[in-house]
Structure formats: structure tokens, C-alpha cells
């Protein structure tokens, strides 16, 4: 008979979306890493892993909100490149100015997205494709296509390279703050409910008097601001504004969101699961590095892309099943 525990697990995953799946995969991968590699659980590895991935986690959180409304934001990678240059130029004034400046620059581009999508009724894919090109061009223009070195004498680089109270890097602290705010907004506020309701049925949301346009404007501005903050991290951690970075970041962010079980059609999603998705995709890379380090295999870094693609494929297959099942119900 086939109705053994393996099938129960599949049923469980089907019933709980993929957010259960991503946690299981994440825990499994961590246990695998802990058992196989000596330094995998070291403070150094954990901190540097989180530090590097904090940018992607931020962008994925912003993207998650957009996708939950049924939209998409392709501009985030370019926005991060653009704001890294902005932050580099603002670095002489210190992090107190450069950080809000970078976030604001990202939020402004998000605001443009929101305007074009809501007022001019351009589909999100097209609108954010345009700002993706625009922000990319903007970054190259204001930087002269050069990396812009930051002012090392100010406290700007301390943000990306030093630890808060000697415990955790500032980038990780800031990411955690954004994560908790996003989580609370989604789960506990009318705004979060509206975001999910719009993704579920925009028509019903309008008819029951939800402020649909306001919620949609929020998600694009928030996504832009998250990308803006990621750009500040980039400049602060690597000591330079990098107009050529950010290529493909929007796709990794979408991948993290999808692996976290958020439906691309909107209406269903989770911030913790998005975090798990981003960590999972990051861990694939981390573990490949360890494996290469052990000398048992020698896989190039390009293989991580292939493996990430495999993850995505499996998740999307599962999602399609869930959607089909749901349609069968209703």
C-alpha cells in the first residue's frame, strides 16, 4: 500500500501550503551542514552568512508585500544599485544622513512605481520594468559608471562592518527590525489584512470599502524603501557605491518569496516563510562553499544557480497542485 507516512507528509504540505515545506527544508539543510562541516555552526560563519544575506532578505520582504497584492516589483535590484551610489555620496555626512537618504531615494522610486501602476493603470510588470531600467541608468549617470568610494573617515562604514554593542553586525540588527515590523504589519494591522484581501479579490475589497489604492501604494513604496536600505548596506559593507551591482536581485527575491509559499497570484503569504525562503536559497550557496572547501567535490559557484533553479521548480510544481486543488474545491 502507498498510504504510508511519506504520503501523509505530502498531504500535510498540500494542506498547509509550502510554508511548512520551506521550514522543513531549511532545518534539514542546517542539520546536514552541522553534521558534515566542523565550522558550519561557528559564530563567524553564522554572522558572515547573515551579514551577506541581509540585503537579499530585505528585498525579499518588500517583494513579498508586493506579490501578496498580486503585483510584482522588478525594479528592486536597480534601486539598490542606485541607492548604494546615493549613500556613498552622502557618506561624508555620516550614517545618520546617508541611511535615511538611501532609504528615501528607494521610497521615491517606489512612489513612482505606485503612481504609474495605480493612477496611470499600467500593469506592475511593465511599470517596474521601466523603473528598473531608469534606476539602472540613473545609477550609472550619477556615478559616471564608476564605483564611488565612501568616506572612510565618517561613521558610515562602521554600520556595514562593525557590531552593534559588540554582539551582532548593525546590518543584521536593522534587518531584524524591518523583519519584525513587516511581520506585525502583515499579521496585526488593517493594512496587512487589506494587502492580502486585495490579492485575494480586488473587486470584493473595493466593494467592502477597503482603501485599495492606499494599500497598493504602500506595498510599492515599502518595497522601494527596503531596496533602498539594501543599497545602503551594500555601500557600507563594501565601502563603495556600486552602480553595476544588483543585477538579477529582483529574481532572487521573487524566488525567495515563492519558495516561502507565497502565491504569485497574491492573497496568501507569510513574512517568516519569506525569510526562511531567502535563508534557504542563501544556504545552498554556503553549503556548496563548504563542500568545495572539504575538497570532496569541486563545483563552481555557477552550480548554485542550477540548484536554486531546481528548488524553485519543485516549489512551483507544488504550488500548481495547491491551486488546482483549491479550484476543485470552489
Amino acid at each position: 500500500m502507498l498510504d504510508d507516512s511519506a504520503f501523509d507528509l505530502r498531504k500535510y504540505l498540500n494542506n498547509n501550503g509550502q510554508s511548512a515545506g520551506v521550514w522543513i527544508a531549511l532545518v534539514a539543510l542546517i542539520i546536514f551542514g552541522l553534521l558534515r562541516y566542523d565550522n558550519f555552526g561557528s559564530a563567524y560563519n553564522i554572522v558572515s552568512f547573515l551579514n551577506y544575506n541581509s540585503m537579499f532578505i530585505l528585498i525579499a520582504i518588500g517583494m513579498c508585500f508586493v506579490i501578496m497584492t498580486g503585483g510584482i516589483d522588478l525594479s528592486v535590484g536597480s534601486v539598490a544599485a542606485f541607492t548604494s551610489v546615493c549613500a556613498a555620496y552622502l557618506s561624508p555626512f555620516g550614517i545618520e544622513v546617508a541611511l535615511p537618504g538611501g532609504v528615501l531615494a528607494g521610497a521615491v522610486i517606489g512612489g513612482i512605481n505606485a503612481f504609474v501602476i495605480i493612477v496611470m493603470r499600467v500593469p506592475p510588470f511593465i511599470a517596474t520594468l521601466a523603473t528598473m531600467l531608469g534606476a539602472k541608468g540613473g545609477a550609472l549617470v550619477i556615478s559616471g559608471a564608476q564605483t564611488i568610494s565612501v568616506d572612510w573617515s565618517s561613521n558610515f562604514t562602521k554600520f556595514g562592518m562593525e557590531k552593534a554593542f559588540g554582539i551582532l553586525p548593525w546590518t543584521i540588527v536593522a534587518t531584524l527590525v524591518v523583519f519584525f515590523i513587516a511581520w506585525i504589519v502583515l499579521e496585526r494591522t488593517p493594512l496587512g489584512r487589506s494587502v492580502l484581501a486585495i490579492g485575494g479579490s480586488e473587486e470584493a475589497s473595493t466593494l467592502m470599502g477597503l482603501k485599495v489604492n492606499r494599500a497598493k501604494a504602500f506595498v510599492y513604496i515599502f518595497s522601494g524603501a527596503c531596496a533602498g536600505l539594501a543599497g545602503v548596506f551594500l555601500a557600507s559593507s563594501y565601502g563603495a557605491g556600486q552602480p553595476l551591482e544588483g543585477i538579477g536581485w529582483e529574481l532572487s527575491a521573487i524566488a525567495s518569496v515563492v519558495v516561502g509559499g507565497t502565491l504569485l497570484t497574491g492573497g496568501l503569504g507569510s513574512i517568516p516563510a519569506t525569510l526562511a525562503g531567502a535563508l534557504l536559497l542563501g544556504l545552498v550557496f554556503n553549503i556548496l562553499n563548504f563542500e568545495n572547501g572539504k575538497g570532496t567535490i569541486s563545483l563552481s559557484a555557477y552550480w548554485q544557480l542550477v540548484i536554486r533553479g531546481g528548488f524553485l521548480f519543485v516549489v512551483i510544481l507544488l504550488q500548481t497542485r495547491v491551486i488546482r486543488k483549491r479550484q476543485a474545491v470552489s
Partner: protein, 511 residues
């Protein structure tokens, strides 16, 4: 007379054991405009789909143009000469008018290349036969829906259609466009093409049709020369009533009610919108249920959309709670104290993936929020109270609403509005698709709510529900409110008579 163009005899069709058609009949003469009417679910579209090869029939025969016709797909029906103009036009809006008309039959020149010059002039000629002068090289999408529909008809005719089937062709047209369409239909008739005209608008049938076939419950009830019938007879047949009852009921006193009304809550004076609402007037008092009666397409739902700020007024004025009222959007209407339970539960009501709890409190969130956060405890309390009070059957208030039965989904949506405590609640088909038990429960919930001093506007296609549930009924026809009935004293026959009366007759009867 010559052989009929189309004869469908004793057609049976069942879907997974449920009969949709039982020995249905339809006969269309050559060069005839033939109306087909019936309530929703009467079997009109099933019959059409069998004729055009979308469905296979279980029994019966179809003869078309002198031969046995068993089309296995719409394409075969089309090449035999049956063209169907659907509500959703299957044309390509981004391509030119010419391309849309000649697609698949492009005139060729040497080497197999498309001869655009000939194609354009052919198209121009086809269209000018209909009295249309278009720039045929412009994209079709630049023209209005009406023109696009005419182009679809032109395409059918240029493919030598002998029978053109039009399914609700006027539902998205304005009056002027309807007139143009009727001109084209008469034109078709003159050239010997037959038209099968499906419509909910009875007036239109009397304007263009030669004969009309009435269907009810999957059966053909009657076929009449339009000149020898009247609306009374057609409506009586559509609804399965005795015509004499309706006629006599129409002549009796409409009866006076003694509903314990409170102050005037809402007054609408001759309001109209661009969405088929022409001139609607009604008054709702506190403590009463006002029903909106009328056939499909009479403007019942459109009146609700105007009151709720979805459609903007083009004429008339409204007074709500003693003040002038013209909401720009549902948000404003809700803030003023209105609620609308919409007709299409699946598309406009539930958020399927959200839980019962979340669905129930969505419209209430602003009031459940303190310091920016939803008060979860109060939320649960409110939801649990409503689940208990309305007898909503759910395993858990966090169960996704899509897993509930239709009746329970509807109760959740009703609770959503009751929780916001609106002064006036508009209910559009509140018991559609709901089982009998839940239906009675929903009706008593509504009555209880009104007794607390609120007002309700009740829209229903079920005459029984209106007659029993409403204190007064405002009757609509073609976007006009034409008469008003008061309980006690309304019977279904009286209501149907009022619906069937033409505007002019009604103004006399409603003294």
C-alpha cells in the same frame, strides 16, 4: 412556405445525470428574426450550444438547411453557415478591421501573398451594406463595443452565414447603438439571413422579432408570432403562471400596508447612471424592508451600485439621513452608514483564501484597531458571537472560507455587514444558491435587523422571497422605477402583473 432553415426536435441533454433539456424544440424559418427567452437556467444557452456543436445532444434531431446537422465543434457549424456572436466577442482588437473580417479567408494574389487592397475594399463594401463607414485599416479596438459587435456580424455574413445567433447582444450597448444594431438585423433579414435573438429585454423582442420561443426548465413552452402575443403571455409562460391570474391580479387593488415605519432614511429622486439606470426613485424608512422587483436587466443591481457609490450619478439626487448624498466610492458610502452585500458571492464577496474570521471582520477593521494594531481578542469575540448568533457552521473560525458551504459563506458575508451596523443595508440576491434551511435563517436575521430600526433594500429574482420578505416593493423596468406595491396585499401574481405592465399602463394602475 419553404422548409424551415433550422429544426431542432425532442432535444434531451443531461449533465452528470441532471436534465438540462427535456425534449426541447426550436424551429427557425429562412429570413426570420426569432426571439428566444427564458429565465436563467431555462436551457437557452444549452440549446444554442447543442445547435452550434459545443455540446453533444443525448437524444433528438437537428436539421439545418435541408440536411441532418450533427456538428462536432463550433467550427463545423460555422462552415455550415451558423455564426454565433457571443457577449465576449472573439475578435482581435489590436488588428485592423479588415484583418478581423477576412482572417482565415484572406484574398491572395500571385505567390500566395495577401492582397490587402482587395481585402480592404471587400471589407469596406461589407460594412457599407450595414450603413457603416469605418477606416478599415485602423485597429478594431479603437471602435466602440457596438461597432465591434457589428464587425463580428459582418464577419459572419461575409462567411456566408445563413443563421446568426446573437446572445444578449444589447447588454453592453447604449440606446443609439441598439438602434444601429436593429437596423443591421433588419438588413440581414432582407438578404434572407435568419437571426436567433436571445435577450432578457422583452421590449426589444417586440421591436425586431417575427416570432419568439419561450423556454422554461429545459423545455420549450411555446412559440408565438410576435404580433399575436403580448408581454403578459410571455412573462406568464417564462415564469410558469396562469395568464388569467396575472391579468386579474393586475386589475385588483394593490392594497395598503400598515408597516410600522420610522423616519425616512433614504430618498432617491429620479437617479440615473451610465450603467442602464435611467430614472429610479424610491424611499426607504427606518424599520422597513423595501424590495426591488423586476426581470433580469431591469436595473435592480444597477440601482444598488448607484446608491453605494460604485456607479456615479448622471441625474437625480439622493437624500440619506436628512442630508444630500452622493458618494464618490464605496468607502464614502460605508462611512455614511451604508452596506452592500453583492450579488456575485464568488467574485465580489468572499476572499477565498482568508479565514472565516478575517472575512467577517474586513469591513470592520477600522473600528477594531487600536494604536495601529488589530485587537485580536475583540476580533475573536465579535466573530464568535456572530458565528453563534447566525448559526454559521464552521469547524473553526480560522478555517478558510472557501471550505464552507454556500449558505454558510453567505452568512459570513451578511455578518460582515451586520457587524459594521449600517443604517441601510442593501442585499442583492442574499439567498441565491443557498439551501432552504439557511435561506429561512438568513431571512429571519434580516427581519430582526430591520426591527432594530435600520432599513434594508432587498433585491431578489425570486418573487416569493420579495412578496414574503418586503414591506414594500419598488418595481423596475428597463432602468425605470415604474410602480410601487405595499404589503400586506401583494401576491406573486400582483407583482408579476406589475412587472409585466408597460410604463404607460403602470402609471395609470399605480394610483
Amino acid at each position: 412556405m419553404a422548409l424551415p432553415l433550422l429544426t431542432a426536435k425532442s432535444i434531451d441533454k443531461a449533465f452528470s445525470g441532471v436534465a438540462a433539456l427535456t425534449s426541447a424544440e426550436l424551429q427557425i424559418e429562412g429570413g426570420e428574426v426569432h426571439g428566444l427567452i427564458g429565465q436563467n437556467g431555462a436551457g437557452k444557452s444549452t440549446l444554442i450550444k447543442i445547435i452550434t456543436g459545443v455540446y453533444r445532444r443525448d437524444a433528438g434531431t437537428v436539421e439545418f438547411d435541408g440536411g441532418e446537422a450533427s456538428f462536432i465543434n463550433p467550427r463545423e457549424a460555422q462552415s455550415a453557415g451558423i455564426a454565433t456572436i457571443y457577449q465576449e466577442l472573439n475578435l482581435v482588437p489590436l488588428r485592423s478591421v479588415t484583418e478581423n473580417i477576412v482572417m482565415g479567408n484572406e484574398p491572395r494574389k500571385w505567390g500566395g501573398l495577401i492582397d490587402w487592397k482587395t481585402a480592404n475594399s471587400q471589407t469596406k463594401k461589407v460594412l457599407s451594406d450595414f450603413g457603416l463607414d469605418l477606416d478599415v485599416e485602423r485597429p478594431l479596438g479603437e471602435y466602440s463595443t457596438a461597432i465591434q459587435q457589428l464587425v463580428a456580424i459582418a464577419r459572419a455574413v461575409s462567411l456566408n452565414a445563413k443563421l446568426v445567433i446573437m446572445d444578449e447582444p444589447t447588454s453592453s450597448l447604449d440606446d443609439k447603438e441598439v438602434a444601429v444594431l436593429f437596423g443591421v438585423i433588419r438588413q440581414l433579414k432582407q438578404t434572407g439571413v435568419s437571426v436567433l435573438y436571445v435577450s432578457h429585454f422583452l421590449d426589444e423582442l417586440f421591436e425586431v422579432c417575427d416570432r419568439v420561443t419561450v423556454m422554461r426548465d429545459g423545455q420549450t413552452i411555446g412559440c408565438h408570432q410576435i404580433a399575436e402575443t403580448d408581454k403578459f403571455e410571455l412573462i406568464a409562460e417564462m415564469l410558469g403562471r396562469n395568464i388569467e391570474d396575472i391579468k386579474s391580479a393586475g386589475m385588483t387593488d394593490f392594497g395598503g400596508g400598515e408597516a410600522k415605519r420610522g423616519e425616512v432614511l433614504l430618498q432617491a429622486d429620479n437617479i440615473g447612471t451610465d450603467n442602464r439606470l435611467r430614472a429610479f426613485s424610491a424611499t426607504v424608512h427606518r424599520g422597513e424592508i423595501v424590495g426591488l422587483g423586476g426581470l433580469l436587466g431591469s436595473g435592480r443591481t444597477e440601482a444598488a451600485l448607484a446608491l453605494f457609490g460604485v456607479d456615479q450619478l448622471t441625474q437625480g439626487r439622493m437624500v440619506f439621513k436628512g442630508e444630500g448624498f452622493e458618494p464618490d466610492d464605496p468607502v464614502t458610502a460605508i462611512r455614511s452608514g451604508l452596506g452592500l452585500l453583492s450579488e456575485d458571492r464568488k467574485a465580489e464577496g468572499i476572499i477565498p483564501d482568508m479565514s472565516v474570521r478575517e472575512n467577517l471582520t474586513l469591513a470592520l477593521l477600522p473600528r477594531l484597531t487600536r494604536a495601529g494594531q488589530i485587537q485580536r481578542g475583540r476580533e475573536r469575540e465579535i466573530v464568535e458571537n456572530f458565528v453563534k448568533a447566525l448559526g454559521i457552521k464552521t469547524a473553526d473560525i480560522d478555517q478558510p472560507i472557501r471550505e464552507l458551504s454556500g449558505g454558510n459563506q453567505q452568512k459570513v458575508l451578511l455578518a460582515r455587514w451586520l457587524a459594521t451596523e449600517p443604517d441601510l443595508l442593501i442585499l442583492d440576491e442574499p439567498t441565491r444558491g443557498v439551501d432552504v434551511g439557511a435561506k429561512l435563517e438568513i431571512q429571519s436575521i434580516i427581519r430582526e435587523y430591520v426591527d432594530r430600526g435600520c432599513g434594508v433594500i432587498l433585491i431578489s429574482s425570486e418573487f416569493e422571497e420579495l412578496v414574503e420578505g418586503a414591506d414594500r416593493i419598488v418595481v423596475l423596468q428597463d432602468g425605470y422605477s415604474v410602480s410601487e406595491l405595499e404589503n400586506p396585499g401583494i401576491s406573486e401574481d400582483i407583482l408579476i402583473a406589475a412587472i409585466a405592465h408597460h410604463h404607460d399602463e403602470v402609471s395609470g394602475a399605480n394610483a
